[in-house]
């Protein structure tokens, strides 16, 4: 089973390594969102530091949605999904492989966008990095656990290019809110004890949705 999850993950990585389509697009979009926010926040420049966590996670979320969209579009391009569906492998396995790939793409994007954000907004962090890494990790897993399921849902519809953000954002908002809060705690206050609640929330969310999606994936996958 793990071998098969791994096969799917590796295939996506190999394609990405060759084309760099998704990562380029995600990165670029992340940066675009940063820049746009920068303008939108112009009038409240003084308190901008407080807004950084929100800006970051909105950029992550948009980039992640783009990546998920792209992932299923690629699978549909040549009816590749039809080939996958004919393989005698439990569809939950496909879900796990796809989710893993999406998470890695997102984490890579986040790393770069985060560094850029530090530069744009003149922040310095060092000792906080392990904490941030933890938050980014659980936040991202929470995002992709639902995101992978819902991108399959969106891919079933006539409007797939545009539907994913519409259905995904309302569902993952709780994750994003908690991730923003946790990131804010690390960057602004330094009360690490307060991290427990949001991090627990995100972890529980991830576990619940990974299980739900693993079970439900079979119903939404069609070519």
């Amino acid at each position: 089973m793990i071998a098969k999850v791994w096969a799917i993950f590796r295939k996506d990585m190999l394609i990405e390594l060759r084309t760099k389509d998704s990562l380029n697009a995600m990165l670029f979009f992340g940066i675009v969102v940063l820049v746009i926010f920068n303008f939108a926040l112009e009038p409240v420049r003084e308190s901008v530091r407080a807004a950084v966590p929100g800006v970051l996670w909105v950029a992550f979320a948009f980039a992640g949605t783009l990546g998920l969209n792209r992932m299923f579009a690629a699978e549909k391009e040549n009816s590749c999904l039809q080939g996958l569906l004919m393989v005698p492998v439990d569809r939950g396995i496909l879900y796990l492989g796809k989710m893993l790939a999406a998470s890695v793409f997102m984490l890579l994007t986040e790393a770069v966008v985060f560094v850029l954000c530090l530069v744009f907004f003149n922040l310095t962090v060092w000792s906080e990095i392990p904490w941030l890494a933890l938050i980014f990790l659980v936040g991202t897993l929470g995002f992709t656990s639902v995101g992978t399921l819902l991108s399959a849902v969106a891919a079933n519809t006539r409007m797939r290019e545009v539907l994913l953000p519409l259905i995904l954002f309302p569902v993952v908002l709780p994750v994003i809110v908690n991730a923003v809060e946790a990131t804010g705690i690390v960057l602004n206050t330094v009360d690490y004890g307060a991290l427990r609640l949001p991090v627990t929330f995100m972890s529980v969310f991830t576990i619940v949705f990974t299980t739900v999606a693993y079970l439900l994936f079979d119903f939404v996958l069609e070519d």
Binding site: K4, K11, L14, N78, S79, Q82, M86, P88
Partner: protein
């Protein structure tokens, strides 16, 4: 091997399959005819488990009814969609599917497969550089990588040139000799007749004609098929 009982599939107001009942034995080669929109593709997709029927039942027997997962392992599906990753090479495409099927995937095995479909020496090129015909050849290798017992083919000759057509004909004749069960949808009556053991004509979502090759000549079949088409 395959047993369809009153299969129906509706798309809103539209009926693709009305009530299709048919039993297909192990080792039979079926050619599936019917006018546009008769339901051939829909039937093949339901058999492949790619589409859920609206009502009726479909069973794959070997000889006991199989669970969907096991049934999928027995089937190979080839349509004019190649289902290849354009950015991977031919070898990488096959390797990926071999891994998912849990087959051995040494390069040598896979390269042999590539040779068989007439692509020797091109295994390390990305599929994007292949012409349509070459892609269709590789798609054949991919779809039948795991030596399935049941071959489902949806207009597999579409857009193939003469050389490609000859190759695929040879391949299917071989599969038939090896005792595989095949169902092939096509609009080419002589070709379908040539390959088949038995001809099914689907009309408005039901089986309208079901003839064994030993019982009709090509000319006879053609005239009965034309008659059917003329009727409505």
């Amino acid at each position: 091997m395959i047993e369809a009982q009153g299969l129906a599939k509706y798309f809103g107001r539209f009926t693709a399959l009305r009530s299709l009942t048919v039993t297909i034995g192990r080792g039979e080669f079926i050619s599936l005819f019917g006018r546009n929109g008769a339901g051939k593709t829909t039937f093949l997709r339901v058999v492949a488990g790619l589409s859920r029927p609206s009502s009726g039942s479909l069973r794959i027997l070997d000889p006991e009814p199989l669970a969907p997962l096991a049934a999928r392992g027995l089937m190979g599906y080839l349509s004019h969609n190649t289902a290849l990753y354009l950015d991977l090479t031919a070898l990488e495409n096959l390797r990926f599917y071999a891994e998912l099927h849990g087959l051995p995937h040494q390069d040598s095995d896979l390269e042999r497969r590539i040779d068989v479909v007439g692509l020797s020496g091109r295994g390390h090129e990305p599929v994007r550089n292949y012409s349509r015909g070459m892609q269709q050849r590789l798609a054949i290798a991919r779809a039948f990588l795991h030596d399935p017992q049941i071959l489902l083919l949806d207009e597999p000759f579409t857009g193939l040139d003469q050389a490609g057509t000859e190759f695929l004909k040879g391949y299917l004749a071989g599969a038939r000799r090896d005792g595989k069960t095949c169902i092939m949808a096509t609009h080419d009556v002589p070709l379908g007749y040539e390959l088949a053991d038995r001809m099914l004509v689907i009309e408005k979502g039901v089986v309208a004609l079901d003839l064994s090759k030993s019982r009709v000549s090509l000319a006879e079949f053609q005239s009965r098929y034309a008659e059917l088409a003329g009727e409505s």
